[in-house]
Symmetry: C2
Subunit: 709 residues, 2 copies
């Protein structure tokens, strides 16, 4: 899928699209906390009170999956309202608070063709949810839960009419449980969260160089020797699949071949393109071991193995990976070279195509559609193969034009620690797309990818959530829903709501800081942790080399992507500068925030003295104090209307350049707004001769960060 080239070429497009944050107004008629935003909604007058007598009735089709879904929703409503509601369904639909009218069960196995639409109408008398399928009803129940509001009078759902259906049929989350294993309960809470934001595909990345994590009864050495004992039994897999199905979520398994296959070869070196022996890979990166595509025994093995997996995983699709195989083992194997020569296979890409063609036959035999990463795409590929694109919208559009279904993951690499807004504005079918409607229909949707080099059970939720909720909105809601500020407002509410499902993305940070601080009193460390973000892209690999066996309990692991505190600070600075030339509005609040940074510095250093695991972060404590000091001084000049001495600007900007350098694989997103304050103070003299707006633009230009060297 993914690694090496991605960095250089494609992140640029992310950055460019993210800068287009001056989005059109959203089409939502009122302020609400729905995420994803429904296709159509209009609020009415009135409200439906949610009281102790809350009941649900079901009419039309009902089955166990629907009943369980309603029960889960009612229990969550109880948890929020601290009221006990009746168990089971109400007999009298006329008197029920919520009526769920379902037409039919939908697909027995969740499918890409599932009708997920629903209509929800809430009046001050009753809420009526109508859906053609049970999955549609489940989606509508999540919307109903998101509508719950409250005030002095009590809990209520506002009067509203919603007609909703997803924009894309394939809305996924890939979790790599191979590089770091995750126990079933972690997957389950993430499935619950996926359902809460209407995602419908769990892409289970089951094999890697670093681990083979699914039990094979036919080839027990695969998981037996390839997983350190951390694998899913088939019973556990069936349990996860059932759990997902109950929530209207498909499970697409991935068995990544022919590359990324070290862990297969630990137990079965005879499948490899070099003799071995092999051991489970512990490093991050791209590795040479690959299956041998020239030997019939390999296909016999894959036939048996994939047959076993095809029976275990009921989904119509099976992902065969196919990415990042550089073929170095092939180059060095004379037998493989002879095979290629003999058959006129001109290069490794063509050899992999040969391999894929063989795989395709096997998968067809077992009734599965083949899916793979960009690399598998080539002109003579049958049209029923699905392209999973890490390369981007252009590659995806090209495939669609040729008639191939495709799924986008470029721009949704949540392991890269980019801000939510960037993922949010990344559209599988951007506004300028020249695809015909028929071609566009081949763009099935997208998948967020949780690659797991640097996540554990403790931290994975914080890498997935809440950012993935914004990706879920991109894939479900109309293209025009792009108001970044409103997204962040709703995301904050969504993040808290997701916690009721057991997610640890919010609560684990404080725990990790207590462990680092070796005690309960962590406020200065919390101040710092709220303001730093792990370095983005693949920089962590260089700056803080670790292996798959390293403890991921450092400050970089406790820190979270897309700092809320930094974003709020940025907005605060903008407000103060917008009040030129007086700089009074919000100045007091800004002064308090900067003062807290300044004060935290020394306390932080004392705390870090007693915590060797934080020694690497000591320079950050100094930077934090320096940021606070620079900001306070700048604010003081601005407030007093006093021009700072000439050397002050250079000294402060130098300090900020120092603070802008990552340390302990962490960086301060607040350097930029502090730089703006400093430049603004230094440019005070120009304010007399310019309009405030022109002056602000001038400051912004001067304060732009230095170009990377």
């Amino acid at each position: 899928m993914r690694r090496k080239q991605l960095s250089a070429v494609l992140l640029l497009s992310c950055v460019l699209s993210a800068s287009a944050q001056t989005a059109p107004p959203t089409q939502t008629p009122a302020r609400h906390n729905l995420m994803p935003v429904p296709a159509a909604l209009s609020f009415g007058a009135g409200r439906l009170p949610v009281t102790k007598s809350f009941t649900v009735a079901a009419t039309g089709h009902t089955d166990e999956r629907l009943r369980a879904g309603i029960d889960r929703a009612v229990r969550r409503l109880e948890g929020r309202t601290v009221m006990e509601f009746a168990r089971g369904l109400a007999a009298d639909a006329g008197g029920a608070t919520l009526v769920v009218e379902t037409r039919g069960p939908g697909r027995p196995v969740p499918a890409v063709e599932e009708d997920e639409s629903y209509a929800l109408e809430v009046t001050d008398r009753q809420a009526v949810l109508k859906a053609p399928t049970v999955v549609g009803a489940l989606r509508g129940l999540e919307t109903f839960l998101q509508l719950l509001d409250a005030d002095r009078e009590g809990f209520y759902v506002p009067a509203v009419r919603i007609q909703d259906r997803p924009r894309f049929r394939w809305r996924g989350l890939l979790i790599d449980i191979a590089r770091h294993y995750q126990p079933p309960e972690v997957l389950k809470r993430n499935l619950d969260a996926m359902a809460a934001v209407k995602l419908n595909v769990f892409h289970w990345h089951l094999t890697e160089d670093q681990g083979f994590r699914i039990e094979s009864k036919k080839f027990p050495k695969l998981h037996g020797l390839g997983s350190d004992g951390n694998f899913y039994t088939q019973e556990q897999a069936r349990d996860i699949i059932a759990y997902a199905r109950a929530r209207g979520i498909r499970v697409v398994p991935e068995f990544d071949i022919p590359g990324h296959a070290t862990a297969w070869l630990v137990g079965h070196p005879e499948l490899g393109s070099a003799p071995g022996p092999y051991t489970i890979e512990r490093r991050p990166g791209i590795f040479e071991p690959a299956l041998d595509p020239t030997r019939e025994e390999v296909y016999k093995f894959l036939d048996a193995f994939l047959g076993e997996m095809a029976a275990l995983f009921p989904d119509a699709y099976l992902h065969i990976g196919g990415d990042e195989n550089e073929g170095k083992q092939w180059d060095r194997n004379p037998r493989i070279q002879a095979f290629m020569k003999e058959r006129g296979i001109k290069d490794n890409h063509a050899l992999q195509t040969y391999f894929n063609q063989r795989l395709l036959k096997i998968l067809r035999k077992y009734g599965k559609r083949m899916m793979g990463w960009d690399e598998i795409f080539q002109p003579d590929l049958p049209k029923d193969v699905v392209i999973h694109s890490w390369r981007g919208q252009t590659a995806l559009a090209e495939a669609a034009r040729r008639g191939y279904d495709g799924v986008l993951s470029n721009g949704y690499y949540i392991d890269l620690i980019f801000p939510t807004s960037q993922h949010y504005l990344n559209d599988p079918l951007p506004a300028g797309s020249t695809l015909t409607p028929a071609e566009a229909a081949h763009v099935l949707g997208g998948e967020a990818t949780m690659w797991a080099e640097w996540v554990t059970e403790e931290t994975i939720d914080s890498r997935i959530w809440p950012r993935t909720a914004a990706i879920a909105e991109r894939l479900w809601s109309p293209r025009e829903v792009t108001d970044v500020e409103d997204m962040y407002r709703r995301l904050a509410v969504t993040s808290v709501r997701l916690e009721e499902l057991g997610l640890m993305h919010e609560r684990n940070q404080a725990m990790m800081l207590r462990r680092l601080a070796r005690g309960p009193d962590v406020w200065p460390l919390q101040t710092l942790a709220a303001l730093v973000e792990p370095v983005k892209e693949y920089r962590r690999y260089q700056q803080r080399p670790q292996t798959m066996l390293s403890p991921l309990t450092g400050l970089v692991d406790a820190a979270r992507p897309d700092s809320d505190a930094a974003r709020r600070f940025h907005a605060l600075v903008e407000r103060v500068l917008a009040d030129a030339p007086r700089f009074e509005s919000h100045a007091e609040e800004l002064r308090r925030v900067l003062g807290a940074w300044h004060d935290a510095g020394p306390e932080l250093e004392a705390l870090m003295d007693g915590s060797p695991a934080l020694h690497e972060a000591r320079p950050l404590a100094k930077d934090l104090a320096a940021l606070g000091e620079a900001g306070l001084e700048a604010l003081s000049y601005l407030s007093r209307g006093v021009e700072p001495p000439a050397e002050w600007r250079a000294a402060r900007l130098a300090a900020l350049d120092e603070a802008a350098k990552p340390k302990a694989a962490l960086e301060f997103p607040v350097v930029a707004p502090v730089r703006r304050l400093v430049v603004a103070a230094a440019e005070l003299p120009r304010l007399g001769s310019m309009t405030p707006a022109a002056w602000r633009a001038h400051v912004e230009t001067l304060a732009a960060p230095p170009a990377p060297k």
Copy 2:
């Protein structure tokens, strides 16, 4: 075990013993963070650095359990230090950082006779842990982990010699998973925590009126109809037992009969003393359904069922409950009455004895020792029966005198929300005991009891931890270790350390407050939540009637026992008063704390307006502000040396009396120290004519809370 009488009689003794907090000095030679305190330890000079090259070697006996235990310990050390250590055991013991020398495997099944002793010697060159058994080595590894310390130079373990063994052989935690079911992962993290504080018995309370939670393959209607589907499969039970064994923990199952048996009768009404039908009980309390002790079919059933369970649970002991059967169904059943008359069984107690005698035969047949609550004790009971005492030390001593083994739970009822100190000072063999050494040996130990009327997966850890760590110390450490202040100091560190095992006792509070506040900003609510405690004893039952189906997500559930903030506040007030007549020392800090309460009040009210689930807690916001105001005023009078007007005292004390009344099943433990401040201010005039010490005693007397009506 437990409910009705307990309240009136026995809590008094708790209160009395808790007031004896002027404890003898501990015998520990230096300030350390060990919990429980070892039997003997002496610190030396020097330290053993813990660096990246940390390794462990094992000599003597090694087995899979030991290797896994060492591996877990090393992984935890990695988590704390953020250093990656070598996997597996070092080949060279001479060069290893830690050497574990184990003589033998110990008992194949964890047993009360297990030798858990160990010796640990740390020098600046090496740490050597010696133990006769693997379990002893596991205990020593926990001590080693607790010794980890750090400063500017890095992580280290101080030079120390420890000779350690438990004072009591039976150190348990009962978890009632019947009233509220807990998934296996909750039990596992609690088993890890038990091992961390050297507890060795997990008492699994598996059946109740409110749920039958273990799979019976012979009688599937028991769990099938008695559990709402929330039960442990036998495979899960075996997994839990293995998990416990790996940590040197016994698993003692309890099947509570003949009372507390409603859930058995849902599927098997024919076992009951009244015809039924029965449904799973949802209320808390004591209920009438009881097995029929007069019918042979009942014993045939119990023989088959207990035979099945005896095979599933390898422990030598099996707990049959036997508590709180009032025999009302027996009184009303003419056939049972005729049976009693015929056999000369004079009352229900005698009938239960008859039942127990029959049970005893069954258990002996399956090689199990019978254990039951106080009620089963009667003079003609064979001596191999173990008495589990909810009644107290006197009953336990009486049984011991007659030659019966006993285990104490009175005083360890952690569901009753008492402060840690109270449990801590509750000794199974108090200093004044008149038992001979041979008699005293019958007092096997004690068990903390987590009765589960009001706990869920979200809250159970906070009810068990960290308080149970202090009970663990009581049961392991020498009797003389009773310094309450030092216990609290170590408990704060222990609590943070326990989090690394996945416990939620610290981190879940913030999550619950966010849910209640319906958003991320909860600071005023946190201020309140840190200062209130759920009402104690069984008062919650009356003040906030709920059922087993009610959501336990209210403020009372988020609040925790034994408020740290309240204890710190109490100490702060003492310090200020100790500085009479100037009242300067710590006054500024006290003023800041009181000011925060005062300021939080209005913000809290605004927050609560938007959160109907907090409406019940509105009076607490007013109380908090009133407490802050009264304290600030009193402090102001004291600081200025100005006598308040006469009516001030009455008005403030009246406000405090109001604040002392529980609301929303919550109470303020800080009312007493604020009352002391108010009385001190009012009694300022007396300070001139008394010594400061006499004056303080005088204030203390006057400020004593009013006697309960």
